[in-house]
Symmetry: D2
Subunit: 371 residues, 4 copies
C-alpha cells in the first residue's frame, strides 16, 4: 500500500530510475494559497548534489503541479505533484540485475513480487521516493501555517558525535529569526563542523554512518490525535519509521523515561494568566495520544546506508555466492538530507489529524468544556 | 478512531468503569478453530490481581464470544468479544470529576471532547481497554499458528535493572520447551527477582517506575509488510506506540545502530543447504519494510505509570490549583502486565500483513521468482 | 467486510440465531444527547411481530448500550449497541443444515466460507442483522437533528399496487404534523388498505411479494457529498443496495429521466428572497454528487422474499436434488419493515457525509464563496 | 474523496481544461503483462471525436505510464497513468466564470469549495475525468483475464428507443466471436440505426437525450463479494452511480422483480454433470451479495446531458438572473461513450473483490466445503 492518511491522504508513485517520482495529495481543503517558491525551497533541502557531503547525483527536483490548483489556490481537488528524473544513470545498476545487495530491499522485493522488480537504483524501494514526500509535506505545511504550527527538525547525532536529547540550546537557535541551516543541519555550528569532518572521513573510507534527528513542533492546538489506535505519537512514529533507514523512534522522555519514577516524570499542570501549561514536558506535548498544547518533540534513529563502496559478499537470484560493491553516487550519511523528510512526514500526520479534529468539533448543544 | 488494521480489523470499545470492555474482530478467515482455553490463558497473563506486584483490582476478565463462531470454528463473520467489568469501584474516582490528574489524558480528553467524558477510572483512556486487545490478539495468534509464527515478549528492564538488547541468553530460555514466566516476565530468574524487589520498594514509596519490553517473532515467512507507507516495522511501531505509557520503539539494531558503520551493520546474505539466511541480523528480520525470514525483534520503552499515591499539584476544570493523590488500586509498574499486550499488538499487525500478502500472491503468469 | 462509513463508521455483528445482534458506532461526536426513547421507537418500527402482516417471530429488540455514553450524552468514544435474541427457534432450521435454499445466500456462503457457516435462520446473512442498522441509524438521526435534517421513507408499491414516483400527495401527508404510519407504511390510507389485503392473500398462498420504497430527505445543507468516487447519491445507492432483497435504486428523475430531453430535465436555478432554489427537482437534490439544498428523494426496489412455505426443488451440499419448504415464521412481504431500515441506511450515509463536509470547512483565508 | 477500492485502489486526478487527467492504480499484483495496445483500444472506445454522434472535441487520449511497470510487466508498485489534454479550448468557458449552469455541478462546487473552483469545462466535475477510469479499468481487465472474466456493456435504450431487459438476442451477438460495435454501441443493428437517427435529430435541435446501458459479466468465480456492507451488487451500484449523469441502477430482475411472487422469482438450483447452476437467473448472478457463478447482469439509467445549446435561465455567483447557452463541443447523448466507462467501473469493482476474496482463502485446516 502506497498511501497514508485518512483525510489528508498522500499516495506516492514512481521509481528511482523510471520517468520520475510523484505524489498525489487528496484532501487538502480548498482555498490554500499554493506557494510555489516555498515548495521549491523545501525540495532544495532534500535534493541530491546540494553539498559536498551528500550524493553527487544531480537532480533539480523541480515539482510540477499537474492538477488541483487553480489561479494559485487549492480547489479541494486532488493535487498531483510530479518530479521528473533527470540524472538517472541506469547503467550504474546493470550489474545488480540478478544480485541481492546486503541489507537492501533487493531480496525481499524479489520474493514478495515474484521476481518482477525494477532493480535499477533500488526502483520503488529507493530513497528517491522521499522527494515525493517532501513535496506533499510542503502542501501540508502550507495548510498548517494557518494554525501557527511550526515544524523544525535538526541533526542531533552523526555516528558517535551528538547533542543531548532534548537540546534546548540547539532548539533556541533553530527557532530564532534568521536561522540558517548548517551543511549537516546541526544547529550548533561547532558540533556541525565536527560532524562534517567525520562524514568526509567515512566517505573516503568507502563506508557509511548513521545518526539521529530530533524534531520539535510548536503551536499544535490542544486536541489533535485520536485515542486508542490513532494516538498522535503512534501516527508520528509510524510516519517516521516509514522513512528509509529509520530504526527507532522515541518521543518526550522516550527511552530515558524508563528509569524515572512517576513522581519525577509527571508533568504538573499549572495556569498562568489564564493559559494552562505544564511545568515540565516529559510527555512531549502529548497525553493519552492527544496534543496538550505544549511543544511536541521526538527523536529518530537512522542506521548507516546499506550501499557502501567496499566489496561485500552476497548471493544472486540463483542463490550463488557473489561479491558486490556499490557503484554510482551514494550518500555516506543520509542524516542531513533526511531532516526535511522528517519534517514532511510530521507535517502530513499533523495535517491529517487537524482534519479529523475539525470533523468532530461541530456542536449545537451546550459545550461543557467551555462552561 | 478506535479501529486498526486493513484486512484483519480490530475495533475496541468500552470504558474502565462502564459495563465492560469489548473487541470486534472483522476479517478472521473462516475455518479457524477458536480455542477458548488458549484465549483464557492469554487473558490470565494480563489480568489485574494476578500477583503481588500488580494492581489488586480483581477482574476475572472472562471473555464471552457474542458472534462469528459456530460449532467452535470461525465462520468469516465478525467476532465480537466481551469482557464484563466486575470489580469497578467507581466511588474511588468521584473526587476526580473536575480534576485533571498530572500526565493523564484527563485534560486532553476534556478539551477534545468538549467536556463530555467519563472520568471514572480514566474511562475510555484507561489501560483496562487493553484487555480487549489481548483477546483480539489471541484470535490473531490462533490464525498465525498455521504459519508456525511464534511471538514472545519479555521484560528486559525495570527502572535501572536490565538485560542487554538483544539478549540471546534470555531468548534461548524464552523459546525453550516448558518455559514458565517469572512473576516479572523477565526470563532470567536472578534479574527477575531483583526487579521484583525493586517494584515492591517502589510501591511502598507510593511511586511508580517504567521499563522495557523486548519482543521476538520467529518463523514469519518472507514477504510480509508493505513498501513505502505500510512497512512492517512501521506498522509494528505504531501498534506498540498505541499501547498506554509507551514512549519509544526500536527494532533490529535500533538506536545503537546509529554509531555503526555500514560495513559493520550490513547483514551478509548466505545460502546453506538451499536456505537463504543472513550472517548477522541487525536488520531485525525486516528489509525495505518487508520480512526476510530471519527473526523479527524489537524493544519498547514504557514510562512510569502516571497515577501515584503521593499527593501532587494540579488544576481543575475551572483552572484552579488543586492537590490530587491516587486512590484506588493501581500498578506500581505496568511492565509485567504489558508483556502480553505487546504480543497481542504484534499478532494483530502480523495477521493483517499476512492477509495483505495472501491477496497479492495469486498468479497465473510464470512466476519469475521461483524459476 | 462488515463496516461502512469513513468518519461515522458503523460495524455490525451477530447472527440470527446466535446470542444477539450488535452494532458498533465509531465517530459520533461528543455531546449528542442519546435519547433512549427515540431509539426504542425506531426499533419498534422494524421489529418482527408488530402487526398481522409481518413475521410472527416475537422479539422485543430492546437495545442495550454497552459503551460510549456517559450521563446520557455521547462522549466521542465508540458506542456499542446490543440486541439480544430472544425468540430464536433454532430447531426450525435443523433440516437446512445441508440444504441450499433457492435464492438464499446458503450456497454462496457455503462456498465462500469453505463450509464453515451458521445455517440457522440464515446466520449472518439473515435480515435480522438489519436490527443493528436501525439502532445505529437512530444515533445518526440524533446527530442529524441539529442540522434540521428530516428523513422519511414510505411504502410506494406492493406487488402491482403502487403510487406514482415521486408522489407529492403522499409526501405532504408524510411530513404533516401528527402523521401516523399505516400498517403497510403507505401514507395514502386507501392504497395502504388495498396493499394490506394483497399481502394477506399472498401469505395465505404460502407465497411472498416484493415492492418499492420511496424516501425523501429535507433540509440537507448545500455541500454534502464528495466528488468523483463518493458522490452522495452513489453512497446512498450503495447503502440501500446493501439492504437485503434490494434489487434497484434510482434517485431524482431516475429511470424515467432517460426518455426526457435536456431542455426538459434541467432544473432552472432561481433566487427568491435571497434563497437560491431550483424550479424543478429532477436532480433529486444532488448535482455533481453534492447536495444542492433541495429535497433529496430516491426509490428502491425489493424482490419478493426467498423463503416461501411452498415446496421447492433444490440441491444439498452433496449436490443431490432435494425438496425444501420454509418452516418457521417468515414475512410474506418485507416492505413495511424495510421502511425504517431504508431510513437508517440513509441517516448513516448523511451522518458520514456531514462529518466529511465539516472536516473541509475550516478556513482562515478569505472565503470567496461568501464574498 | 477521489479514490475507490480497498485492495485494487484507484485514485483519479486532473481537470477538463488543466494539464491532463490521470489515474493512480495501487494494488495490481506483480506479474501482469501490461498490454499497451489493449489499453489504447479501450481509450479509443471512450475518446471524444470518435464518430459523428459524439462531441467533436478531438483528444487522442494517449495514455502514458509513469510508474509501476518494468519491462512490460507490473511490479506491484503503484501505476500512474497520465492522459495529457490537447484540445482544451478554455476560452469557450470564460463566459461561465461567474455563472451557474442549470443541473451542473457549478453551484454545488462553488458552495462546497468556498468559491475556489476551476470553472473551465466543468473542471474536476467534467466527464473528461472518466478517461482516467477507462485507463484504470483496462488494467483491471488485464488482471481479470486470468480468471476468464468477460465484461461487456451495450446501449440498450436511447430516449424512447430501447431493447428489453435482459435481452438475450443482443447478448448473444455481444459475446459472439468477431463482434463489431455499432456507432451507438447497440448490438442489434436496426435498433442502433434508429437510435443514431434520433441522436442526430436531437443534436440538430440543440438538445440532449438520455438512455440505458446494460452490462453482462461472464465467468465470475463463486464467492466474490462481501456480506452486509460490501455486497457485490452494492459495490457495482456505487461504482456505476458514480459515473456522470447516472440516475439509477438495477441488477438481475431489478425493478420488474417487484411485482413477481417469490415462487416465480426464486432461482432453482440444479446440478448437471457436476456443475451447480440455477434454472433461471433473476438473482443476476449474485445471492446474499456474493457471486454464485451465473452471469452477472445489471442496467443503468443516464439522464440527458445538462449542457444544451439552447439558451436557458439561470443565476450567477451574485444570485442575479442570467441567460446561459452552451458553447463549445458537447455530446448530444453520452450513452455510446459511457459504455466503456460502465465496463471500466465494473472491472475495477471486480478486481477489488477478487483480491479481497483471495486474501481469505488460505487454509491449512480441513476445508469443509470440498469434503
Amino acid at each position: 500500500m502506497n498511501h497514508t492518511g485518512q483525510l489528508f491522504r498522500v499516495s506516492t508513485f514512481g521509481e528511482s530510475h523510471g520517468a520520475g517520482i510523484g505524489a498525489l495529495v487528496d484532501g487538502l481543503p480548498a482555498g490554500v494559497f499554493i506557494d510555489l517558491e516555498f515548495i521549491r525551497q523545501e525540495m532544495q533541502r532534500r535534493k541530491p548534489g546540494q553539498s559536498a557531503i551528500v550524493t553527487q547525483r544531480t537532480e533539480e527536483d523541480e515539482v510540477q503541479i499537474l492538477s488541483g490548483v487553480f489561479e494559485q489556490y487549492s480547489t479541494g481537488a486532488p493535487i498531483a505533484l510530479w518530479i521528473a528524473n533527470q540524472d538517472a544513470k541506469s547503467k550504474d545498476y546493470s550489474h545488480l540485475k540478478d544480485t541481492f545487495r546486503p541489507s537492501h530491499a533487493d531480496f525481499t522485493y524479489h520474493q514478495k513480487y515474484k521476481g518482477f522488480r525494477d532493480y535499477q537504483g533500488g526502483g520503488r524501494a529507493s530513497a528517491r521516493e522521499t522527494a515525493a514526500r517532501v513535496a506533499a509535506g510542503a502542501l501540508a505545511k502550507l495548510w498548517l501555517n494557518q494554525f501557527g504550527v511550526q515544524i523544525k527538525a535538526y541533526t542531533s547525532q552523526i555516528g558517535h558525535i551528538g547533542l543531548t536529547y532534548p537540546c534546548p540550546e540547539a532548539e533556541a537557535l533553530l527557532f530564532a529569526a534568521g536561522y540558517q541551516e548548517h551543511i549537516t543541519r546541526c544547529p550548533i555550528a561547532e558540533k556541525g563542523d565536527e560532524m562534517e569532518l567525520f562524514i568526509k572521513k567515512i566517505r573516503k573510507e568507502g563506508d557509511t554512518v548513521g545518526g539521529l534527528i530530533t524534531c520539535v513542533v510548536k503551536n499544535v492546538p490542544v486536541g489533535w490525535g485520536e485515542p486508542v489506535f490513532g494516538k498522535l505519537h503512534a501516527e508520528l512514529g509510524k510516519a517516521i519509521l516509514n522513512i528509509h533507514a529509520c530504526k527507532g523512534f522515541e518521543y518526550g522522555s522516550g527511552f530515558a523515561g524508563v528509569a524515572m519514577r512517576g513522581s519525577q516524570h509527571n508533568d504538573i499542570l499549572t495556569t498562568q494568566s489564564g493559559k494552562i501549561s505544564t511545568q515540565t514536558n516529559h510527555s512531549g506535548g502529548i497525553q493519552g495520544g492527544i496534543s496538550n498544547g505544549e511543544d511536541i518533540y521526538f527523536r529518530a534513529a537512522f542506521k548507516p546506508v546499506a550501499t557502501i563502496l567496499q566489496p561485500q559478499n552476497s548471493i544472486n537470484t540463483q542463490s550463488q555466492p557473489v561479491t558486490v560493491a556499490g557503484k554510482g553516487r551514494h550518500d555516506p550519511c543520509v542524516i542531513p538530507r533526511a531532516v526535511p523528510i522528517v519534517e514532511a512526514a510530521t507535517a502530513m500526520v499533523l495535517a491529517d489529524m487537524s482534519l479529523l479534529f475539525l470533523s468532530q468539533q461541530q456542536h449545537f448543544y451546550p459545550n461543557k468544556a467551555t462552561n
